[in-house]
Symmetry: C2
């Protein structure tokens, strides 16, 4: 079956921060993130290593506040460097692009804190500098604390309204990227002294409920025009948003069954928006620890667990859930708590072992390495077996690799697992296209697929052209 032989796509998931999803690993002598995250050579070397392993992209998260729900304080987040400090992920990209040829770069950028006119300019610039190797992870932001850094009060906008606003935001950037500049606007007509034909560069004159933007776009068309679009909303409204806009989805799915259901619902969501089911690529997060043998991998995993900071994990979980876990007894069974937020997150754990009572200690222990990602620990062959099972049974398209240690976890994967997957015909052995969208969708597919709504989000001038 062709489906069974589907090749795997791979993104490396991290943040310009310390021990991204594995709190406490800064104490592990093999971890370099605490010093490296701020250094340009660290990022360049990582990008080169990932390109050696034919990865599709380096995927960078970002936040704009601190996790301050746990004990109603920032202390634990600061102490254990829970995604804090966090440097700007857009800025190391040009260095990495300069030192590589093929690998793409996915950047988290918030629709809440940045204006769409600037966002459009930023991603167009990156797409030019990388020659079409950039993706945007669209987030509406979930940390209320961040709002207080941007003068927006101490509450998040209503969840559904946040998505309505984000839909309008997307219309603005689509019109700037896809419809403001015609493809042949730059003519360089020396005889008539015309560098750019003004009749082919258009205002968008966008007037919406949230944004008014006159245009034209500040940038000429880049290789991809619109960056590859990522999104990760798992709520009902978030799913609709992803179905409409996303070309890639990153998710934390606790096991194969949960992932399979989500993959189906994302494909349905795309289909319901008039797109093809495979117009959306789905990347479950996985935390892999690999070594020469299964036993060595297990030892490495246990070794890593000896460096964890449980309080850091609880600060992260409390921030995600919006509930202060410190108010519970460490042995309380969280499964019995009825709040939606906590159940949503716990579902990740509950499905793994429905019989188990999950106490705070258990949660902290499970999240200690790779937070809520499923953990795959073993030799290259064992890891490859498990990844094959995931992709064959869930119909996902690839994985967001979340290592325990950085950069060594990425390097181990490239050195050990990638050759095994390549041997099995499950991973590319060289890049074919030249843009990131081509990595994902195939050679010649540098631009958004025909049914993507960006094509039909027309500014007035284009509507009037018939």
């Amino acid at each position: 079956m062709s489906k069974k032989s589907k090749q795997m796509l791979f993104n490396a998931f991290t943040q310009c921060s310390i021990c991204h999803h594995s709190k406490g690993q800064w104490k592990n002598p093999i971890d370099g993130s605490s010093q490296g995250y701020k250094e340009i050579e660290y990022w360049v070397n990582l990008a080169k290593k990932l390109e050696e392993g034919c990865f599709d992209a380096l995927f960078l998260a970002d936040i704009h506040g601190t996790y301050n729900v746990y004990k109603n304080s920032r202390e634990a987040a600061i102490r254990h460097s829970v995604q804090f400090p966090s440097n700007d992920p857009t800025l190391p990209i040009s260095a990495m692009a300069y030192a590589t040829k093929h690998i793409g770069f996915a950047c988290t950028y918030s629709t809440t804190y940045f204006h769409p006119y600037q966002t459009a300019k930023l991603f167009s610039t990156l797409d030019h500098l990388t020659r079409g190797r950039v993706a945007w992870n669209i987030v509406t932001s979930y940390i209320a604390d961040a709002n207080e850094n941007f003068g927006l009060g101490n509450k998040l906008m209503d969840h559904d309204q946040r998505y309505d606003r984000a839909d309008e935001y997307m219309d603005v950037v689509y019109q700037l990227w896809e419809h403001s500049w015609e493809e042949d606007a730059i003519v360089k007509d020396i005889e008539n002294d015309v560098h750019t034909d003004p009749s082919k560069v258009h205002e968008i004159n966008f007037e919406g409920d949230y944004f008014n933007v006159i245009g034209p776009h500040m940038c000429e068309p880049s290789a991809q025009r619109t960056p590859v679009l990522y999104q990760a909303g798992q709520s009902s409204r978030g799913l609709t948003f992803a179905g409409r806009h996303a070309e890639g989805v990153f998710g934390m799915f606790p096991n194969i069954d949960a992932c399979k259901k989500s993959v189906l619902s994302y494909r349905e969501a795309a289909f319901n928006q008039g797109r093809a089911k495979d117009d959306i690529k789905i990347f479950p997060g996985v935390t892999v620890v690999v070594a020469e043998t299964d036993q060595e991998a297990k030892d490495k995993f246990e070794e890593a667990k000896s460096y964890t900071s449980p309080e850091g994990s609880l600060a992260l979980f409390s921030g995600w859930a919006g509930i202060d876990l410190a108010e519970l007894d460490s042995t309380d069974n969280l499964v019995e708590m009825k709040t939606d937020a906590i159940q949503g997150l716990l579902s990740a754990l509950v499905v793994i072992d429905p019989e188990r009572e999950w106490s705070l200690e258990d949660v902290a222990d499970y999240m200690a390495v790779g937070s809520l990602m499923p953990k795959i620990v073993g030799s290259a062959s064992s890891v490859a077996d498990e990844l094959e099972q995931w992709i064959d049974e869930t119909d996902c398209d690839g994985f967001n690799l979340v290592p325990v240690n950085q950069p060594s976890g990425f390097a181990d994967f490239v050195d050990l697992v990638v050759p095994e997957l390549q041997k099995r015909g499950r991973m590319r052995t060289r890049y074919s296209g030249s843009t990131l969208r081509e990595n994902y969708f195939g050679n010649g597919e540098a631009r958004l697929r025909p049914k993507h709504p960006a094509h039909s989000s027309l500014p007035e001038w284009k509507k009037n052209c018939g």
Copy 2:
């Protein structure tokens, strides 16, 4: 006299755009900016060349709208690529920093369109990635059109209010950069499982007329903490702002007398704010065309003038003046026009030749190459003579070099003028310090000087510490 032997500092001034200050040069076969401005190799090669010439910094301008005053239309600006398109200047920096060791990077970033919390994060990240080689050119933005791209209506904020707001903006970023993180906050105490000491990372709890920012800053302290601060305001209010905040000033001064007066007034302005007169470095813009002999340089200059686009120059001048020059006859004498804006700009031309009537044609002709910068055309020796005269008579500190053609104009300067200036002891032959601030102020001066107001813009927690 020690003053007479003052060494010259040099910035290369341009924009991620086409033919920055010399409209029409895209037609000149030696000009590479029309293709190169969007390519990473172009910027990396330029940075390496400038570092070969011991330049202090590459200085990148930026805008967020089109010059649409001329003929009440964007047409001329688009046709002649008048700083349009314009890519984001912050994004190529990491690539250039990766390929170099010493040269700095000054970036224009607007206080009107970007929130201070993000601006602080952006420059801290750049300062980390470059290991202390970044400067911020603070602008309040002068193109009304840009406001319509950011949903701010079609008028600029009142000029003085814009500066009041910018003063408050600076207080926010100072508190984030200088006072949110104590120097020794990162402790990496393995025994007690403390990566960062929470008692040394502080909220700023800023509540102002324009901004409310709780903090703490998202980034740990970088080599310079606060980037080197540039500003270019020449109005009375702008001068006060520069006197308070700026460590570097870039100006367009038409001749030595005008420059001398401005240098004095900047130093006075710094002194009036309690700073030392030499705490502010002043860089007049100069357009240099250099060749092996005076005659060859003159020929090259005339050759360049044959590629100009006068309409592009008038669109630029109209945008700066806020007055549609197309409404005048091409032979009208602009000197007789009484508007402040036009007189302010024309003063640049009038002082050059007080007897002359300046018609539109004359203005377009003068601005054709290097816009309002004084032009210095000749052999390396002649150029060096003239630059020596400028620095000795005006007491400026160096120059912002504005070439006619890019990147060749920069390369010519490095290949011909730099060795001549070095031979005369007027330019460094190697870098001494490692940060940009040290390039400007001397080894060991990586941080803001003691009397800079950033040190006294204290958040509550620090005030309360006595």
